[in-house]
């Protein structure tokens, strides 16, 4: 168990290293993406360019440049943005994390609950009107683009119906820290949560339904029914419990990707200064240090989520325990 854990950690470090190298090469060694030209500004003279190159260490060999970059990213943590001079990259990313975590965490609670409810009800009432209605609804949820849904939500709650009793409580766009004002935090995020969760409720509901229906065909379900334990317990304790394997795997990957910046559309639409929005802005201005930081951060969360899934797996599936 300990050996397996160590192995996984080593694997994680290796993956992170690979990703950082690839990100570095894409952004620093791609022809036409010469960072010194961006730093020096428009129509800079040749001398200025050389000066800038030297100042930022961009005239050194690539491996050295990579080493310097990583050193400034992780060790001295004083890497600054190329665009907003003096803005340190690491503290900026760190300050964006609570926003993204609040958004994705809240949405995750909603979509796990929603997915479980939709999946179990549809799976248990397979073929009936309820099942069909739920599946059509979830298909609609999966099909709606999140940015469109967000804009419509904003249109209704911020402008059209903002003065009605229905949405007068909705605060202006933006993030309110949980530590400052928990109720404000909740009010500011509840609409983004629902917006982000819509797609995943549909997706998870459909996946869980399919997995549950498959499990309910298994022999052990017949054994469970033969015990005389009541259909609800058969479905929940035997069918759902064994279906969770697929559900948890999916959740880990989606959650990791979203915390890593995948929620950027929602963040941009709702004006939340999260990691996704940070990445989006850095990409627009080609702010290489920021891009590098956010990409590595994202990779860290995806790899981390994978790791957590593997650990959780051991708890939900005893068969995974005895395999190295």
């Amino acid at each position: 168990m300990v050996a397996a854990l160590g192995f996984r950690l080593g694997q994680m470090v290796l993956v992170m290293f690979g990703i950082s190298v690839v990100a570095f090469l894409i952004f620093f060694a791609t022809p036409g993406a010469d960072p010194s030209a961006r730093i020096a500004g428009r129509n800079a003279s040749q001398e200025t360019l050389i000066q800038v190159r030297h100042d930022f260490g961009l005239d050194r060999p690539l491996p050295v440049q990579y080493g310097l970059m990583m050193n400034r990213l992780f060790v001295s943590r004083d890497l600054t943005s190329f665009v907003n001079r003096g803005q340190r990259v690491i503290p900026t990313v760190i300050s964006a994390i609570p926003v993204t975590l609040s958004l994705v965490g809240g949405a995750a609670v909603l979509w796990v609950l929603g997915g479980l409810i939709v999946g179990v009800i549809a799976g248990a009432t397979r073929g009936t009107f309820i099942d069909r209605a739920l599946m059509i609804l979830s298909l609609v949820g999966v099909s709606i683009p999140v940015f469109w849904l967000g804009e419509v939500a904003n249109l209704l709650t911020q402008s059209r119906w903002h003065d009605s009793w229905l949405f007068s409580w909705v605060p202006p766009l933006g993030y309110i820290p949980l530590t400052e004002n928990p109720w404000g935090w909740f009010k500011a995020l509840v609409i983004p949560w629902f917006t982000l969760a819509t797609l995943y409720v549909g997706l998870y509901g459909r996946v869980l339904r399919a997995s549950l229906i498959e499990m309910m065909q298994e022999d052990f379900i017949r054994t469970a029914r033969a015990k005389g334990i009541g259909e609800r317990r058969v479905v929940l304790h035997h069918g759902l419990r064994t279906s969770l394997v697929a559900f948890v795997t999916m959740f880990g990957l989606d959650f990791g990707a979203l915390v890593g910046g995948g929620a950027l559309l929602t963040e941009v639409v709702f004006g939340l200064q999260g990691v996704g929005k940070l990445t989006y802005e850095a990409l627009q201005t080609l702010d290489l240090p920021m891009i590098l930081a956010t990409v590595i951060y994202a990779a860290f969360f995806v790899v981390m989520a994978n790791f957590v899934v593997d650990v959780v797996f051991v708890f939900i599936d005893p068969r995974a325990r005895d395999v190295g």
């Binding site: 298994e218 054994t223 029914r225 033969a226 015990k227 005389g228 009541g230 005893p318 068969r319």
Partner: protein, 341 residues
């Protein structure tokens, strides 16, 4: 209910499935009864309807396309059409089932103790500690060497034989009056098979249970059964006490079954006698006797007339006159099959 009334009385039980090819009749009106403490062996090929008969007794046919008709009376109570809640009060407690494939019959994510305990707690109000003690005792009773460890094991950690014992322990957990076993030994190797059969035989003595044992293996029936039912094409073709059926089978299909077993004594035949042809498709059964296309003794009446079970204690469904059949039986190659015990 008097003490000597039959435990289970099945009358005209039929199970059909609606399908693309029309109505498939898996079980076509079978009637039989099981006395208290009796072990009944049901023999037949795959697809003869024996498993469906058992599932119908357990109320486990839940396909929306299934039609179950007839009557199944257990201790005087009708089981067909029973509400789920009332059914759940009986199954697991009064009637328990052992399944064919121990590898897939247990939920992979719960421990053995958890799964046995679940059944006990569904039917009795007992403390968690008492449930655990009972489960250990049951595992011990079915011959598991270290029940204290096995109770906390997951199914995948046990061998097939161990799992089947665990399934049997689970079936016995509420001292059922009737145990139905669907090919309990088919998936196991021969040594384990013998142990499991011995165990089933012992159950009656220890727990006083009646057993319906479904199998395609005549050796298994010879080992434990009191009475034998032979099933073919969804119907019973022969029924009688074990010794009577084994000494003098009355149905050509049963002759065929015995012909496929190598004799214990005498010269070994170059080739075992096989029944020609294949079992009938249930969606397209012959009009008369279901066995007629494969029967060496077929005559014109067999193609149009459905034979019914005839006889006193040893009955068979064949259109040939019984004396003729007894004559044929005596001339069968291999003669009388010696019982294994």
């Amino acid at each position: 209910m008097s003490a000597d009334a039959p435990l289970l009385v099945v009358k005209d039980l039929a199970v059909s499935f609606r399908s693309d090819e029309g109505l498939v009749r898996a079980v076509g009106g079978v009637s039989f009864s099981v006395e208290q403490r009796e072990i009944v062996g049901v023999v037949g090929e795959s697809g003869s309807g024996k498993s469906q008969t058992l599932l119908a007794i357990m109320g486990l046919i839940d396909s929306p396309n299934a039609i179950v008709s007839g009557s199944i009376r257990f201790m005087g109570q009708e089981l067909i059409g029973l509400k789920r809640r009332a059914l759940d009060a009986i199954r697991g407690r009064q009637i328990a089932m052992i399944f064919q494939d121990p590898m897939s019959a247990l939920t992979p994510v719960h421990t053995i103790g958890n799964q046995i305990g679940e059944q006990v707690r569904a039917h009795e109000k007992v403390s968690a500690k008492a449930v655990r003690a009972r489960a250990v005792q049951l595992l011990d009773a079915v011959g598991i060497a270290n029940p204290d460890r096995v109770i906390d094991s997951y199914p995948h950690q046990l061998s097939g034989g161990m799992r089947q014992r665990a399934v049997i322990a689970m079936a016995l957990s509420c001292n059922p009056a009737l145990l139905v076993a669907d090919e309990p030994t088919t998936a196991l190797d021969v040594t384990v098979q013998a142990q499991i059969l011995e165990l089933i035989g012992r159950l009656r003595d220890q727990f006083g249970s009646a057993v319906i044992l479904v199998t395609h293996d005549l050796g298994v029936v010879a080992e434990v059964a009191d009475r034998v039912l032979v099933m073919y094409g969804g119907r019973f073709v022969e029924e009688g006490g074990k010794s009577s059926v084994f000494r003098a089978p009355l149905h050509p299909y049963t002759w065929g079954l015995f012909g496929s077993i190598p004799p214990m004594e005498g010269p070994r035949p170059a080739r075992l006698a096989a029944i020609p042809g294949i079992p009938p498709s249930l969606s397209n059964l012959p009009k008369g006797c279901a066995f007629s296309p494969r029967c060496a003794f077929r005559h014109d009446a067999c193609l149009v007339q459905l034979p019914i079970m005839q006889g006193e204690s040893h009955r068979a469904a064949c259109l040939l006159p019984e004396p003729t059949r007894r004559q044929f039986a005596a001339q069968r190659p291999g003669g009388v099959v010696e019982m294994q015990r």
